[in-house]
């Protein structure tokens, strides 16, 4: 065996043996000793962004989200109670072994972040969406979104923050509420969205993505 081969093998063995797990840089989702902040940075950030401002509209923005709402969703994923496709495809596995303390820590981490608007929408749609958000659609029996989600879409406890959320994500979730029973904790939204047209959803989502927020 050549010296270079022996050196290479020894180097790999040394690295393997020497690399001790650092709890502050772990990606182990089954170790309750890993701090929530570490999991947020090492794992969650891959899709939701280091500061909760996800780049891809496939993944919701979590920055400044209501802490209580994040806790409820993570527990919903963990128990499989929340079963929308993207929920079980991505989040059932991520959440399956998290402790209550880790869930609380993750919620605290993301709720403390500052939300950044993803970008402007179509002005006509935005104006139409603003009307729905502020006044609802009385003729269709749709109440104003602001009633529960706050005047500035900031949310309140179990009612999520919707301001600055990706419009594609909002449309997807409104569709889930309207057409499925995959989010039983959001049953109130089933009635709210019952008579929303696709155009209504697009409008309100466009407004939420860029709405003036606090």
């Amino acid at each position: 065996m050549k010296t270079s081969t022996i050196t290479a093998v020894l180097a790999i063995a040394a690295i393997s043996a020497g690399c001790t797990t650092s709890p502050t840089r772990s990606r182990n989702l089954a170790d309750h000793n890993v701090p929530a902040k570490t999991l947020a940075q090492q794992v969650c950030s891959n899709c939701h962004g280091i500061d909760g401002n996800s780049v891809s509209p496939n993944f919701p923005k979590l920055a400044a989200q209501q802490e209580e709402y994040i806790v409820a969703q993570l527990k919903g994923f963990r128990s499989h109670r929340r079963a929308d496709p993207e929920g079980y495809e991505y989040m059932w596995g991520i959440s399956r072994s998290l402790s209550d303390a880790q869930i609380k820590g993750l919620a605290a981490y993301f709720s403390a972040q500052k939300s950044i608007p993803p970008g402007p929408g179509n002005p006509k749609l935005v104006a139409e969406g603003r009307k729905i958000f502020e006044s609802g659609l009385p003729a269709q029996g749709v109440p104003p979104c602001s009633t529960c989600h706050g005047d500035h879409g900031q949310g309140n406890g179990q009612f999520p923050r919707v301001a600055y959320q990706h419009s594609d994500y909002v449309i997807k979730q409104l569709t889930v509420f309207q057409r499925t029973n995959e989010r039983p904790d959001g049953v109130a939204m089933k009635a709210v969205t019952h008579s929303l047209s696709d155009k209504n959803m697009e409008a309100v989502a466009a407004y939420l993505q860029q709405m003036p927020s606090k």
Binding site: R25, S26, L29, V55, S56, G93
Partner: protein
């Protein structure tokens, strides 16, 4: 020159698998009745149905990785199509396959195929032309080792490994396939994100996380027609499962990826990475590979623009390891674009490789090998998909090939993929038939994993 070691390397040669459609220098006769192709399709569909019944509702491309993360295949593979990685899938690999929780690191895969060449060569026709065959089966040992280490090792049984020259009977054989073991760490906070690591692997490019890497991007199903008999550069699988490579890499702020690897002959203590793949290909000393890629993600879009260099000295006489070497210089530019927004995915890749070969034999003129490959693939609801590939192999070896491969596929559940490809040659200089179009090949496959 030693053309046997260099020509006709389809993408699956890079995985150590011989392509039944092209393993033979000549192709098969058109005398095969259309009915046989039909029987092939029906039989394969039946097998697919059996797989569907037998398969559980959750399984994945490398299912043990998914058992580790608990996630669906679409988390890491665009639209669930193996092996095209999503941005998250790339991060999973770059962080050493360590996300999730340790679980049983075993998975398996099997591929059933059938192919039909437009005009067969009656003198050297293969008995399975037009018939369904059990092509390959793989066992994966794949998973997280600790918080910094993980990897995967694939062992593949190739049912059509070699053919008896007298009886034309095929013999199966098992060999080591892709292998990638990593150490990785990640320094991340609001101001920086640095992933760095080491990788031990056995095929230049298979450690890459981008779909335009030749090892992953084109013709990935065993038995795919690939570029037919066109010559491909060393970077496109020429050293697959023949070498041991160690590389160091870094990915900074999800923007810049840089890697430096070195390859040596996979013998001695490294022979476990190359076992069962026929004769050993001997290269001299440590052969460098460098990779640089720029990436950007915005909204549902992400792009990559990359450069690769590979420099290889291969012994001219494979039995004389103190003799002269043939020197391969490969330079590549590649690009990738992805659009991922439920329920659609679109991935487009292009890879352009230029190779110069300086021979160790005095007086022998240098050769050049150019390869341009591109592919666009689309999926809807992670169930229905289509792709279109283009290849243009131009070289001084007398083995040019140019053509297109449209493909449709269906993923009824994530364990199973059924697809059909048709490779249309505009040029196939080294093919069995002088008229390139006579080498056009229809290819059907059923892929299953658990």
């Amino acid at each position: 020159m030693d053309i046997d070691l260099h020509e006709s390397r389809g993408a699956w040669d890079s995985l150590g698998l011989e392509n039944p459609a092209t393993a033979d220098p000549a192709r098969r006769t058109l005398a095969m009745k259309l009915g046989r192709a039909l029987v092939a399709a029906v039989a394969a569909c039946t097998m697919a149905s059996l797989l569907l019944v037998a398969a559980p509702q959750q399984a994945w491309a490398v299912p043990s990785f998914a058992r580790q993360t608990g996630q669906n295949c679409v988390a890491c593979h665009a639209g669930g199509q193996f092996p095209e990685l999503t941005p998250y899938g790339r991060m999973f690999k770059l962080t050493g396959y360590t996300i999730g929780e340790r679980s049983l690191p075993l998975a398996m895969m099997a591929v059933l195929t059938a192919n039909k060449v437009k005009v067969n060569d009656p003198a050297a026709g293969k008995p399975e032309d037009g018939s369904p065959i059990f092509n390959t089966a793989s066992l994966f040992v794949a998973g997280k080792i600790n918080d910094n280490m993980g990897g995967f090792a694939q062992i593949t049984y190739n049912n059509y490994d070699s053919q008896d020259p007298n009886t034309n009977a095929w013999a199966g054989h098992s060999g080591s396939d892709n292998l990638d073991i990593r150490y990785a760490d990640r320094l991340i906070d609001k101001h920086r994100d640095l992933i760095y690591g080491l990788t031990l692997h056995n095929n230049p490019g298979m450690q890459d996380v981008f779909n335009s890497a030749p090892a992953w991007g084109y013709g990935i199903v065993p038995g795919s027609t690939g570029v037919g008999d066109g010559a491909t550069p060393m970077l496109d699988g020429g050293l697959g499962q023949q070498v041991a490579g160690i590389g160091a890499y870094a990915y900074w702020n999800k923007t810049l990826y840089a890697e430096l690897s070195g390859y040596r002959t996979g013998d001695g203590v490294f022979s476990f990475m190359t076992q069962g793949n026929g004769g050993q290909n001997y290269i001299k000393g440590t052969n460098p590979y460098a990779r640089l890629a720029f990436t950007k993600e915005w909204g549902a879009h992400n792009i990559m623009l990359g450069l690769t260099h590979l420099d290889v000295r291969q012994y001219t006489d494979q039995t004389n390891l103190s003799g002269a070497t043939d020197h391969y210089h490969d330079n590549a530019i590649d690009a990738q674009y992805q659009y991922l927004l439920d329920p659609y995915t679109l991935t487009a890749t292009a890879t352009d490789i230029h190779e110069t070969i300086d021979y160790g034999t005095a007086g022998q003129a240098s050769d050049t090998v150019d390869s341009l490959r591109a592919k666009a693939s689309f999926t809807y609801q992670a169930k229905y998909g289509a792709s279109l590939s283009y290849f243009d192999q131009t070289n001084t070896l007398g083995a040019d090939a140019k053509g297109w491969t449209p493909e449709v596929f269906w993923t009824p559940i994530q364990n199973v993929r059924v697809g059909m490809q048709y490779t249309m040659f505009n040029n196939d200089q080294a093919g069995a038939n002088p008229n390139a179009k006579d080498n056009n090949t229809l290819f059907f496959y059923v892929w299953g994993a658990y």
